[in-house]
Amino acid sequence: MPNATTIALIPLLPLAGFLLLGLFGRKYLKSSSGLIGTALLLTSTILALYTAYEYFFVYGKVNGAYQQFIPLQLTWLEFSKGVSIDMGLLLDPISVMMLVVVSFISLMVHIYSLGYMKGEERFATYYSFLGLFTFSMLGLVLASNIFQIYIFWELVGVSSFLLIGYYYDKPSAVAASKKAFIVTRFADLGFLIGILILSFSSGTLDFTTLIQRLTSPESNEVKTAVVSTFLGASALTWGAALVFIGGAGKSAMFPLHIWLPDAMEGPTPVSALIHAATMVVAGVYLVARLFPVFALTTPAVLEIIGWVGAISAIIAAVIACTQTDIKRILAYSTMSQIGYMMFALGVSKYGGEAGLGYTASMFHLFTHAMFKALLFLGAGAVIHYIHSNDMRDMGGLRKYLPVTHITFLIACLAIAGVPPFAGFFSKEEILLAAYQNNMAIYWIALITSGLTAFYMFRLYFNIFWSKPHEVHGEKHGEGGFVMMLPLVLLAVGAAAAGFIPFGEFVSSDGKALVSHFHLEFSIAPVGLGLAGIFAALWLYKKQNDKPQKLAAALGGLYNAAYHKFYIDEIYFFITKKVLFNLIGRPAAWFDRNIVDGMVNLTGNTTQAVSEGIKKIQSGKVQQYAIYFLAGVIVLATLFIYVLR
């Protein structure tokens, strides 16, 4: 059993950073806060790497499969016997892999930010938020209980909110942070109800027990849950589908993706960390975590996951071809790549060779983290230099930003799937998995990979080639060692990560999966990728009017893609017109006028009545005598004639 303290320290060190810098950073630590945060994270990363080494090589395989360890599990809140929220540390191949990815990328971002965020007024706050995020993300990865993952899920959501809104005096940043939180919250509602259903069906919240109970068809839990149906689907199907909605929201899957492009309002290193490499893949991780349930018990939901992933992949790629804000292009690209990971899981089966999609998805998650973080950090260097996000303000930067240029190019080649860069290997496996299981998705994926190469090189040529760059006034250089080091390290990863025999470590059932390389199979995607690159070269290498002509020729399609298929407008209509004007406003009016009106009416009536009857007490004795007499007559009549 691995040492619980060592593993617990991995998330706890960033938490310590959050508390330390959050409470004292602003006043006392100021500029040293960056170094403190980075030092803590460096320790975390070393521990994570050590844990990975120990897990894969020291403990290794037992009976051909990697073991699952839970070195620590504390009861946090007990609901009833057997049903409790536990805080635990779960080690299995995917959580260990994620530990390394999250801590390493976070470390890169910490280092990079030392240069990028230098001189910011809220420097300490920035680092404390980064610490909070890293803590939450590591907690999410290590979760051993479905409610624990939900808790950290919400915490990464709020860290994302805080960091998107870091420039809080910018109205667009405030709006974007709200949007990100609310859209993902909406998805989390599905997640929450899904948890309620799954936990009720299985009688536990613990991942291991839950998966065990829900995947054996003979178990009582499954039998009862399958019987109870709602709208034609079993309770388990609903539960799994709702959990996936949570994942889709966090991973910006269509149609819950609208928050991601806006989230680019945050500082660029944050986009690299949260909105490219780590948090947005949490949805993929969640599906992978519960993969046996999806694959064995609710295959229908897995099919939906596959289609949602494929549709997101292609829609995002099409939109990315038309945007001009470089961060937004990268955001759509992220959405598209996560779509790949999602549908790879969707087309996968559980166990053995058929589980290729699962391995491929995790592999792509790993390589994508490297090259997408690199792309964002490179974009950050460009933005840092040119003070604009807009591609049209750029061009010819290759001479001025040589390191950024080379590393960016490596990342572009990796994402475009050019051999031998990392993206080639992982994408290859994904396509193979799709090819074996779902041809329609395979074709979508193939077209998307061509589009990916095109829009990435459109971006690349527009930034670094195209028109020559005019130097206005004094320009600082590339941002120094702290900004270049992460670029170089990530570039090494983006170039070489593909050679890791990933199936050896991560597979749906823990047993080694040997992926066979098919040369003839890779001709189509690589060919399409190269075609995309050459198309971009032809259109964008030198400034010319071909792109405009092409856009005009495409007409409606171009416009629709440029306006992101009007999905934002649809949402705006629903929230503003329906929620606010049709539900909120009437509710507020109803309360003040009808409900409270009734209360006031009661009050006023009482007053009016008492106003009326107070005349009875006039103080005139003659009047009282008449009342008295009338009373006597009435009562006498009653007793004599009626109540005899």
Binding site: E154, L155, F186, L189, L192, L196, S199, V599
Partner: protein, 492 residues
């Protein structure tokens, strides 16, 4: 531990306040008194846990029983279980914070503090009483100060609000009184909760008395549609008044709904449970949607209170042990959270002289402390893990889900939908006030929180976090008590 200390400490403080000579004395005496109350509440928690650890499983601990009116069988009967301990702890937190934020009250300081402490006295007495008559007496003690606090130190249409609040609460009290007398006569002339809880009352009488008691206490805790005193009352009340109203007074109602209506009349509770669920589910969603349209910070918090308190009532209506535990957690959590929310609103209002969200903006720049607390309390309200609201709401959801029929499921999902709407209105309020550019340049001169305000905020934030990070202790306190209630409902 002697429970009379809990009444004695505020009583002594109140008398000392009356005898004090100047404002400084009044304030310091009140502060010392509230620190003493806090210490007593912690001592009670400690003593209670000690007893339980030593396996003293009697339902009520530290019982005291003195005869008062022997002929009518009215007694001073006191005792506490986990629920009372939690509520007393909550009260002591709110009291000290309320005393601290009122530090700069200039108008009739002595009377103001006297009334605050009197209100607290009523609450402590209420939570330890095991005799309905005495309990009712303490309930009424806590009503009168509210009327005066709003009527004298309030703002806006304060007379209207004070009247409305007092009349509605008195109306509720009248229902409670009738229900109480009904219990007294059917159960052989006893007001004693412990005796009544062992008496079996015919179902038809339960069905008659339950609505009286539940609605009566429900008025106090903003049971939809009898919640309309809440927005007006809060918007007119002074800061500490709002804090006490939401943090303590509304909890008296929730406690009564559970301890008296539901516990003593389980058949009635079962009969009306579905109506409670419908009303509270409506309150949760409708309150949240109504909040979305408010611009006045106090109205925002008042309506969101209607929504949040709905969770307490929903949990009670669900009639499972976990849901009831969740309902109680929500009472504690909501008490701390709303008190803090009103404290922050008060701090902002004192500086900007407005409560309208559209007249503020970018306050984070000038008052980082206050806005940070505003963020924390907002995040607590929208149910962020690590803060108390999450724990309570999730416990209610888990408990509600144990009822596996469609009706309960739909009600639970409806209630759960509020987590999205809550996020909308909270982020909207925070976004408009704390974030964005500073719209009013005169706000640039504003100062951040003073020591007393900081201390008040830190105390309440500590409470919220203590529940949010380690909910186990609260769960241990409330769950066994909820089990007793469930045992009676299940007829054991």
């Amino acid at each position: 531990m002697n429970l009379l200390l809990l009444i004695g400490a505020p009583l002594l403080t109140a008398v000392a306040v009356l005898l004090s000579r100047n404002k400084a004395q009044v304030k310091w005496i009140s502060l010392v008194g509230s620190v003493a109350q806090l210490a007593l509440a912690f001592a009670l928690l400690y003593a209670f846990r000690q007893e339980r650890a030593q396996n003293n499983m009697s339902q009520m601990l530290f019982e005291l029983n003195y005869k008062l009116f022997d002929s009518l069988n009215i007694n001073f009967h006191f005792g506490v279980d986990g629920i009372s301990v939690a509520m007393i702890l909550l009260t002591s937190f709110v009291v000290i914070a309320g005393v601290l934020v009122s530090w700069n009250i200039e108008k009739m300081t002595k009377e103001f503090y006297f009334l605050l402490i009197l209100l607290a006295l009523g609450a402590y007495g209420f939570f330890i009483s095991l005799d309905l008559f005495i309990l009712f007496f303490f309930l009424e003690i806590s009503v009168i100060p509210k009327y005066l606090l709003i009527g004298i130190w309030g703002s806006g249409k304060k007379e209207y609000s004070a009247n409305k609040l007092a009349l509605m609460l008195m109306g509720g009290s009248a229902l409670i009184l009738v229900g109480m007398l009904g219990l007294y006569f059917t159960a052989g002339h006893s007001f004693d909760i412990m005796t009544l809880s062992k008496t079996s009352i015919p179902a038809n009488i339960q069905n008659l008395l339950f609505p009286l008691l539940f609605v009566g206490f429900g008025v106090f805790t903003a049971l939809f549609p009898l919640h309309t005193w809440v927005p007006d009352g809060h918007s007119s009340a002074p800061t500490a008044g709002s804090m006490f109203l939401a943090g303590i007074s509304m909890k008296l109602g929730g406690y009564g709904c559970l301890r008296i209506a539901t516990y003593l009349l389980p058949e009635g509770a079962k009969e009306y449970a579905n109506i409670i669920i419908i009303l509270s589910a409506i309150a949760i969603l409708y309150g949240a949607f109504a909040t979305m349209m408010q611009k006045d910070l106090k109205y925002i918090n008042a309506y969101s209170s209607v929504s949040h308190v709905g969770f307490s009532l929903l949990g009670i209506g669900m009639l499972t042990q976990t849901a009831i535990t969740g309902a109680l957690m929500q009472m504690v959590s909501h008490g701390l959270m709303t008190a803090l929310f009103f404290a922050v609103i008060g701090m902002i209002y004192d500086r900007t002289h407005t409560r309208m969200t559209n007249e503020m903006g970018g306050l984070m720049k000038v008052m980082p402390f206050i806005t940070t607390v505003f963020f924390i309390v907002g995040l607590c309200s929208l149910g962020l893990p690590g803060l108390s609201g999450f724990v309570a709401e999730m416990t209610v959801f888990m408990g509600s889900w144990e009822n596996s029929d469609a009706f309960h499921r739909i009600a639970t999902i409806a209630a759960a939908m509020s987590i999205v709407v809550t996020a909308v209105y909270i982020l909207r309020a925070i976004g408009q006030t704390a974030m964005g550019p500073i719209t009013n340049t005169s706000h640039l001169q504003l100062k951040d929180a003073a020591w007393n305000e900081k201390l008040a905020a830190i105390i309440l934030v500590a409470g919220i976090i203590a529940i949010g990070i380690a909910p186990g202790w609260l769960n241990d306190l409330l769950r066994p008590a909820a089990e007793e209630i469930m045992n009676r409902i299940a007829g054991k």
